[in-house]
Subunit: 362 residues, 2 copies
């Protein structure tokens, strides 16, 4: 069930078995520095481990100043705590007795936070004996989880306090906004979200309820949240890697342009015709939920994926046995397909990082 | 990296943690019996392990008469051999020195076959010292891998024999045909494929080259191949599970209608509005490459997936904490997201099967 690494430290990139998830260390470190430099002293950074699933990445983010990690699942949080992360926010609702029991158990090993959007769930968290910071998720336009901003959030905060739990603040994350292509529209959507946050904070203050943290934001919008002034913690994850989908966004100030640092290395396994090469990386090697992978620095297109094959089309595609770097369409579900990052610097494998939260669904 | 099972044997379905990959044993066994009864004495069955990734499933197929397994990757074949399968056809081209070295190594532990579509690759297989049955893949209309039928296939067979390798026959698989909705069109496509096979066999016979096996076919067409008379081995995989995509096909004689036996169990984690429930199974729990999952036996629709969330819409969706069975849109990449099948009979967990070839990409 654990697959062995497709490479050994010291090998050249060309020697890595395929398909392999390749992390370009220079690009990765540059993306990290770009984000942390930009927001330093303005907001806390709590990067999302749902993207990287890897304590090695988490430790490097913490070394740069991250306060801890976000996770979407209790099992993901367990993998991070097992990997030495001491502060995790489960940026999601945790529902059901087995999950809450595990959350409670984990809360005795690390500083833990969790989101709620329902009074019944608050009572369950209390009953489970979880020692957690409780954040209220408000729906700022994504229409997924979350209570409505304003009065409903205040009512839920009172429930949290009534149960003797710690109300830690608000989560206001607009996931849909991350992929709105135009900067102007993205800006407008985050401005509206900021108004919802400010309104809710005002009502909480009027009710005498302190709201220490407002957490949210993703790689596609975070500087808009920072400049709006309503958030004091950001949750970006994809910025470290970038993918084809994010690259389709319009990128302009105040947002920096991150570079592609994550790749799927593939091999040409068939050359059925002059303008087609078939590679050994299909949709089990690069998730196609947000579109096909891109071909890195070559005038070729990955036009179609089946389970284990990809169609590369264009003039003079590479020969049988040649290797090709692909840029994943969507980094999060692609990383979740692999057991290892193959870390590359200067064309040489310098490290192999286990993706310990791969498949952490529960 | 290995996730612990989301259930214990003896638990009720309602107690299983979510998301979980659930196999309904009665439905699974019925699908198995349907296929093996139908083709008994007519063709050999070599089911595809790319779908199930699990030696426990393989062993049950072999017990029903399967001659062995198909795999798409050498690492998948290794997992099957490690799990007690003694006869594996890698129904794919294997290119590159590390993969061929592993193929050669594995060929000393099990009866192994491999496909080729390129003379250069034939020479590499010989050089690697692999003791394998060599099949020529011909392109019968899928336009993926494969040489053209007819003379190019005969030329490649001569290459195989020239290198002192065993020419075992042809692989003629039409993957695209599996999902053509109309029976009439699917039938026409397989008829054309059969003509390509017959023509190639005739030319091989004229060249004095024996062609013992023609292997191919999938769950959406296999009886068309059986009735066409040009194949003597079928490679179906999805028939054991079924998914939403296959269910959209028109199913009529000679093809049987398989039933859904594979599910993703999910929990309602938020109820943001009267006609929307958010479940904890998103696109990391059920691959959306072929469309959204279905909702099992309820008048509800799974309308949208994000990484860890699914939107369930309709009148009276289930309450917070209630569980919902989903039917995966596409079974192969969905199974590849999990470490365990939770096997259910009569609403009770009767077994937990490890998915040992999960993530076997190399």
């Amino acid at each position: 069930m654990i697959q062995r690494p497709p490479a050994e430290i010291g090998q050249k990139l060309e020697q890595v078995d395929t398909p392999a998830l390749v992390l370009d260390m220079d690009g990765f470190e540059k993306n990290q520095k770009t984000l942390f430099d930009l927001v330093k002293g303005r907001v806390r950074v709590r990067p999302h481990a749902k993207t990287h699933k890897c304590p090695e990445v988490a430790q490097r983010q913490i070394a740069l100043g991250a306060v801890g990690m976000c996770c979407q699942k209790v099992s993901e949080a367990e993998a991070m705590v097992d990997g030495g992360v001491h502060d995790v926010l489960v940026s999601n609702e945790v529902v059901g007795a087995p999950k809450l029991a595990r959350l409670a158990e984990l809360s005795r090993r690390a500083k833990l936070g969790v989101c709620v959007d329902n009074a019944q769930n608050v009572a369950q968290i209390k009953a489970a004996g979880a020692n957690v910071d409780v954040y209220i998720e408000i729906d700022v336009g994504m229409r997924r989880c979350g209570v409505a901003p304003g009065a409903p959030a205040v009512a839920l905060a009172k429930e949290i306090l009534k149960h003797g739990l710690r109300f830690a603040g608000l989560q206001a994350y607009h996931g849909r906004a991350q992929h709105i292509r135009s900067m102007e529209e993205r800006h407008a959507v985050i401005e509206t979200a900021a108004q919802h946050v400010q309104h809710t904070k005002r009502l909480l203050a009027e009710a005498g309820i302190a709201c220490p943290i407002v957490t949210g934001a993703g790689s596609g919008t975070f500087m808009l949240e920072v400049e709006a002034g309503a958030w004091n913690e950001i949750q970006c994850g994809s910025y470290a890697f970038m993918d084809v989908d994010y690259a389709k966004n319009e990128w302009a100030a105040p947002l920096p342009r991150f570079g592609h640092a994550l790749f799927v290395l593939s091999t040409v396994m068939s050359r059925p015709s002059p303008e087609v090469a078939i590679v050994d990386a299909g949709l089990k090697a690069s998730s196609v939920d947000s579109g096909m992978p891109g071909v890195w620095q070559q005038d070729l297109r990955y036009t179609h994926a089946s389970d284990e094959h990809g169609w590369i089309e264009g003039k003079n595609p590479p020969a049988l046995g040649e290797k090709l770097l692909l840029v994943p369409g969507h980094c999060d579900p692609t990383i979740n397909l692999y057991d290892w990052y193959v870390c590359i610097r200067g064309g040489v494998v310098v490290d192999l990082w286990p993706i310990t939260a791969r498949g952490a669904l529960y």
